[in-house]
């Protein structure tokens, strides 16, 4: 699943993110367009820097229903309820939230609810905060053990096509699918003002 690191010369953006040079900065917009294409209406999320632009696009979109959560597993319940009522959604979170979701994922698994999750990774590649590393290192395996199909994305150009593939098997198959966006494409939080 993992890919070799590209050469990472890196630049700082806003003084607090370290991201590889020369990548497509519009990947959040392209993911947003895929969500619209798949008639995703309910956007449940725990605030996160990596998802900030996508969250803002969804908040501004006509007909989308953004719901901020106190903890990630609330999104699994809300999206199950939305599906019972005939509507689709997505859960946006950081990898630290994966562990919060494990038992609640049984709802999706047992009932065959479609569950589309987009996870921004921490503690996975060049992380500075050691407290993020334990969960970041087991996020993909934990999701897989809980029955979630996992797609890992390391290149920004692959983000939207991967969300499209995930959405297709998720909503057509009644499956839980997570797209993990690597720190290799998101950059690393540098803890500077």
């Amino acid at each position: 699943m993992r890919r070799a690191a590209r050469e990472d010369r890196g630049v700082e953006i806003g003084g607090n993110r370290h991201v590889p040079t020369g990548h497509a900065h519009n990947w959040p917009k392209l993911i947003f367009e895929k969500l619209r294409e798949f008639q995703v209406r309910h956007v449940t999320y725990v605030p996160d820097t990596g998802h900030a632009q996508l969250i803002e696009l969804c908040q501004a979109a006509d007909g989308m229903e953004p719901t901020v959560l106190t903890t990630e597993e609330e999104g699994i319940g809300i999206l199950a309820g939305a599906w019972l009522g005939g509507e689709r959604g997505v859960l946006l979170m950081q990898s630290s939230g994966v562990g919060n979701c494990i038992n609640t994922l049984s709802l999706s698994k047992v009932c065959g609810f479609p569950l589309l999750i987009i996870v921004t990774m921490r503690g996975e590649w060049g992380e500075l905060n050691p407290w993020q590393i334990p969960m970041g290192q087991i996020a993909a395996k934990s999701l897989q053990l809980a029955g979630v199909i996992v797609y890992e994305v390391t290149e920004p150009e692959a983000a939207a096509p991967t969300v499209e593939a995930a959405a297709r098997i998720c909503f057509n198959g009644g499956l839980a699918v997570a797209v993990l966006l690597s720190q290799r494409m998101l950059g690393t939080k540098l803890f500077k003002d």
Binding site: T70, G77, G81, L84, G85, S106, L107, C111
Partner: protein, 196 residues
């Protein structure tokens, strides 16, 4: 107040569901599901048999997706305590068609009747009120049920009603627990036969 003066849970739930009409019902795992099953199975019921803490969030998603129907969540104090944050999330979304009944026997009935936090005074209706629910109540007597029933079906929500009930155990009444069946049955009943 002695336990004898508390509400009998089955009678209280039967009283509430008698006026459901086309209300969509989501139940929390354990005795709340048995209480609803004792009234009678219904294709507009979705029973949770696990995923503890999720009854209110499932109800929220359903209420947002079906804004023209009343959604009633019926759950217990133990399940509600596990998902307290969901009350804050509901209060922020303010779905006016969502009502929540918490059957509060102050015990974990499924696991050996250990006491829950509500037995020590944790006030679920107070928490919901301070989160921003426009309608909350704690009901201790049968005579107070009429007002609560009216509020659950007709007040602008979100509504939360706590029923302080006797911890006496009632006979088990089981529902189907095949989750895929329950999901598809509910969707077909609500959305039409063409959906799976």
């Amino acid at each position: 107040m002695g336990e004898d003066s508390k509400l009998p849970r089955r009678a209280a739930i039967a009283r509430i569901l008698a006026e459901r009409q086309d209300t969509l019902v989501v139940t929390g795992l354990g005795s709340s599901t048995y209480d609803c099953a004792a009234v009678g199975d219904h294709s507009f019921n979705f029973y949770l048999w696990g995923a503890m803490g999720s009854a209110v969030t499932v109800g929220l998603g359903l209420a947002l997706a079906q804004p023209n129907r009343r959604v009633l969540v019926i759950t217990g104090d133990g399940e509600m305590l596990m998902g307290l944050g969901a009350l804050a999330t509901v209060a922020v979304k303010r779905p006016d068609n969502l009502s929540i009944v918490v059957i509060d026997n102050e015990h974990y009935g499924e696991t050996g009747m250990q006491r829950t936090h509500t037995s020590a005074g944790v006030d679920l209706a107070g928490i919901a009120c301070r989160c921003g629910f426009p309608q909350t109540a704690t009901i201790r007597r049968a005579g107070e049920l009429d007002n609560a029933v009216s509020s659950l079906y007709r007040s602008k929500g979100p509504v939360l009603v706590v029923l302080k009930v006797s911890p006496a155990r009632d006979p088990l009444v089981l529902t189907p627990w095949d989750g895929a069946l329950l999901k598809s049955r509910f969707r077909q009943a609500v959305l039409g036969a063409q959906v799976a």
